[in-house]
């Protein structure tokens, strides 16, 4: 068992994790936590639920590691889990809130202390969050993949298991919606 896996490749980390090496799996979590956070928090907002879903992503990953054949990159594998869990959470929440005919914002946001020095940065993040939240989830996920993860159309199509044409058409429709919505922000 190694003391540090900082320089280890993904394959080595997966093998060690499968042998129950806590440090190796901890390194996977640290390596991909920001990537998962961009997807989960970009889709759900900076909410307490997002933290739980983030944990679920890695718990599911650990349980599914034995099925990881290495055909796709580990990052793609994790990203797929993150997308599926996030979309499931959105569906679950939609059902829950529709039971109470609640039309308001269903995000539980964390309390943030205002920092004048970072006002501009906070504002930038708020604009991006509002833009994403204004979109339907099927458009939101595509925009989040592109805007926050920096994935190309092809990569987005691969992760979401959609044809490239569908991704392109959704991007175009999302762009039209955002032109209208961002004007109002």
């Amino acid at each position: 068992m190694k003391e540090s896996y900082k320089l280890a490749g993904d394959d080595e980390l997966v093998k060690a994790s499968l042998n129950g090496d806590k440090l190796a799996f901890g390194e996977i979590v640290n390596r991909y936590r920001r990537m998962v956070a961009r997807t989960v928090k970009g889709m759900l907002g900076d909410s307490v639920y997002a933290e739980d879903i983030g944990q679920e992503v890695f718990v599911n990953l650990y349980n599914a590691l034995s099925g990881f054949r290495g055909e796709a990159k580990l990052s793609t594998y994790i990203q797929r889990i993150a997308v599926n869990l996030t979309l499931n959470e959105i569906k679950r929440r939609k059902r829950f809130f529709s039971m109470f005919s609640y039309k308001g914002d269903n995000e539980i946001r964390e309390y943030e202390i205002a920092d004048p020095e970072n006002e501009e940065r906070r504002e930038a993040k708020e604009i991006v969050n509002k833009a994403l939240m204004s979109l339907n989830p099927k458009f939101r996920i595509i925009v989040a993949m592109r805007l926050l993860q920096g994935y190309s159309t092809k990569e987005t199509a691969e992760i979401l298991d959609l044809p490239v044409g569908t991704v392109l058409s959704r991007l175009s429709r999302a762009q039209n919606q955002l032109k209208e919505k961002l004007g109002k922000l």
């Binding site: 920001r34 928090k41 833009a131 925009v143 592109r146 920096g150 994935y151 159309t153």
Partner: protein, 117 residues
Amino acid sequence: MKPSEIKKLIIGSMDEKTDPGEIARLLDDQGVSYDFRKGFAEKVTDRLFGAALTLSRDVEFTKNLNYVLYRIAITGVAAIVVLMLSIFFIQDSFSFNSFLGLGDSYDESIVYLLTGN
């Protein structure tokens, strides 16, 4: 970056010709970054390997129980051996009657004891 520039960047990012990687980096520089709270990795590994810890505690308990039962069994066997030796020295025999404490009794007295006649 001004809010209007951020909005322009968001809308422009959806053009096929733009480099999404570059846009994501630019936004990250502007503070549009996401991460989980401190201690996130520890929480995840504790959730996963905490279960293994519970399992190892169960195994540890079973091992301890086996050890205790083994000691009791050894003590029991030793007690039986001491008892058998004492019976042998007292009654000069290892017969079944000696074990029942009937080694010195006659058949008639047993019948008397059982029936009262």
